[in-house]
């Protein structure tokens, strides 16, 4: 299990528990459920690069305690 920090820099900061094998799409679903919004409206970035839904967090080198940028589209 890893815990990822997601910050939208607009006043929300979310800690999401997940697995490294989870895809970004799954992660978005969990995140959207925590935020109370649609997963399709979420865009995640790590170091300026947009994360694609079909790729796993592990492939993006998202580890425990990694900060992700959250954008709303």
């Amino acid at each position: 299990m890893i815990e990822v920090l997601v910050n939208d820099r607009l006043g929300k900061r979310v800690r999401v528990k997940c697995l490294a094998d989870d895809s970004v799409g799954d992660f978005k679903k969990v995140l959207a459920a925590q935020l109370g919004m649609l997963p399709a409206k979420i865009a995640l970035q790590k170091g300026g690069s947009v994360l694609k839904d079909h790729i796993s967090l592990g492939d993006y080198e998202v580890h425990d305690g990694t900060n992700l940028e959250l954008y709303y589209s």
């Binding site: 006043g11 929300k12 900061r13 997940c18 799954d26 425990d64 305690g65």
Partner: protein, 563 residues
């Protein structure tokens, strides 16, 4: 203020199950995770935390590890000065490893408690001094695949693979350098293969020193000295550099110097010939140049030449009789051919000269034309046959190059003088042409225009013939008018079929509403229908407008025309 949202593991698991994801299995918390989750666990009571995260056994294991690590650090830094100066001194220098070798081998047997004397002894393939490098060494049993069958009693031998590898490379390099030296300096190395094998064996020989008793410590300080004493004479390759030439043949090593053989020249009789050497005299004498022809006049020289030629061609006396008979025969033949010659002459004038390269034709020409020339020369004389006989005889004699010097008559000499050159057709076409020119057989320039007029006449005749042929054809065409009636019936049927045929077709394209379209527009519609595409509404509206305008214009024009 930053709003931080966090869900517990159970809640996230529920959520994940609802979303159709696999739940997160709770792991045993690592110290890092403990640290991470500390702020979160503020709300949770302390008792639960202690029960869930702190495991006494784990803690004890961690403490043990930490102790070990700290001991290691102390050991490693214990001998060294921790000051900067000591550290700096240490940077450049290598570590001096104390020559101590501990060989700890454990066996599963129950004899562990016995003394070292009873322990099994193993032989080693290397000197202990070689092994003392201050590093961990892995010793493996030597592979005795081939030897097991021969010597079943052979003991197990321990060897270090790395050391063996190093030794092999060392040996290879040494051999390479030896070989290089041999090539460059072309010197013979008196090192036989036996010596090399011996040297290998020296390395591989098992020594008394290299006996290992299991579970025993070896102090290398003493052992090394002993090894040095004993191995003074070992491990050296016996290399003999003998200066005496007598030993060279007997003691030549494996590296023989290549000898390049020189090729030997051979005659037809397979005799080897040595390279020719010119024996030049020490002094070269002056050679006096004598002009042998200086005293002789040109006329005399010419006579001499003629005589020489005559001598060279002088036949026997029997041949002369044969020649005479031949001459007579030829004369008779010539008489018979006279008529033919006359005809030939006429034809030559009429239709140009026919020059053939065949030998028979040339021979005919030779004799006949010569005769003719003689005829011309003797026009004044009325007696033709006698003259002919006289003329033929010298000519034939001339052809045979007056082989008999005694036969040479004054007449022949005269004839040779008259005739500029002998009739020799061996030179080919050029010689024949020359000959003919001399005999005035070829037409002169004055005759050529006359011929050209003849050719013009021929052309005129050809034209006339053509005209006649045409006239004949026209006559025949008139006769064929009857056939045309049949053809006309066919033509009528064709015309009936092609009644509606109009070569000036004007294609008009119309759309669904019956409006006229240009070819471009029509093509666009057609292609759109084929591909199942449509232009957008704007474009369609634009096109409709354009078509309507055009149709209006056309309508107004028509009205004007009607009015």
């Amino acid at each position: 203020m930053v709003e931080e949202i966090a869900l517990s593991l159970d809640e996230t698991n529920k959520l994940r199950v609802q979303l159709g994801l696999k739940p997160i299995v709770a792991e045993k918390a690592t110290p890092q995770q403990q640290q991470v989750e500390k702020p979160e666990s503020k709300t949770i009571p302390a008792e639960t935390v202690s029960s869930s995260f702190i495991d006494s056994s784990k803690i004890s294991s961690f403490r043990q590890r930490l102790q070990k690590l700290s001991q290691r650090n102390i050991n490693s830094t214990g001998d060294e000065a921790e000051d900067d100066e000591g550290w700096l001194k240490k940077v450049g220098s290598q570590k001096e490893v104390t020559p101590r070798l501990h060989v700890n081998m454990t066996y599963d047997d129950d004899d562990d408690d016995d003394d070292g004397d009873d322990m099994p002894q193993l032989r080693m393939a290397h000197n202990i001094s070689d092994l003392a490098t201050g590093k961990d060494i892995i010793l493996t049993l030597k592979d005795n695949n081939g030897r097991d069958n021969d010597k079943s009693d052979e003991e197990d031998v321990l060897q270090d693979e790395n050391l063996i590898h190093f030794k092999e490379t060392d040996k290879n390099i040494r051999l390479k350098t030896m070989n290089k030296n041999r090539r460059q300096k072309k010197m013979k190395l008196n090192v036989g293969s036996n010596d090399l094998v011996g040297s290998d064996e020296d390395g591989g020989v098992i020594k008394e020193n290299s006996m290992l008793t299991i579970n025993s410590t070896i102090k290398l300080g003493n052992v090394q000295n002993e090894i040095e004493n004993k191995t003074d004479n070992r491990g050296k390759i016996r290399v003999n550099f003998s200066d005496t030439s007598a030993d060279d043949d007997s003691d030549i090593g494996d590296f023989k110097q290549t000898k390049i053989k020189r090729r030997k020249r051979r005659d037809g009789n397979n005799n080897i010939t040595k390279a020719k050497t010119l024996d030049l005299p020490i002094k070269i004498d002056n050679v006096e140049l004598i002009d042998e022809d200086a005293g002789i006049d040109q006329d005399e020289a010419a006579e001499i030449n003629i005589r020489r030629n005559q001598r060279s061609h002088s036949p026997n006396s029997d041949e002369t009789f044969d020649l005479a008979s031949k001459i007579r025969q030829e004369a008779l033949e010539n008489k018979k051919r006279e008529m033919d010659i006359a005809k030939l002459h006429n034809t030559a004038h009429m239709s140009g000269l026919i020059v053939d390269e065949t030998s028979s034709f040339l021979s005919n020409l030779d004799s006949q034309l010569l005769d003719k020339h003689n005829e011309y020369s003797a026009v004044d004389d009325d007696i033709f046959p006698s003259n002919n006989d006289q003329a033929v005889a010298p000519s034939t004699e001339e052809t045979h190059a007056s082989k008999d010097p005694e036969h040479v008559t004054p007449e022949t000499t005269i004839s040779t003088a008259d005739e500029p050159r002998g009739s020799d057709f061996s030179g080919g076409l050029a010689s024949t042409l020359n000959f003919l020119r001399e005999r005035n057989v070829l037409p002169t320039k004055s005759e050529i225009p006359a011929r050209s007029t003849d050719s013009s006449r021929e052309e005129l005749l050809k034209l006339k013939r053509k005209i006649e042929l045409r006239e004949i054809k026209e006559g025949s065409s008139k006769a064929s008018t009857d056939n045309t009636s049949k053809r006309s019936s066919v033509h009528d049927t064709q015309s009936e079929l092609l009644r509606n045929y109009n070569p000036d077709i004007n294609l008009v394209y119309r759309d669904d509403q019956g409006r006229e379209l240009t070819t471009k527009e029509a093509y666009k519609k057609l292609s759109q229908r084929f591909h199942g595409t449509k232009s957008n509404k704007k474009k369609q509206a634009k096109m409709d407008r354009r078509v309507e305008q055009r149709s209006r214009k056309q309508g107004s024009e028509l009205r004007r025309d009607i009015i």
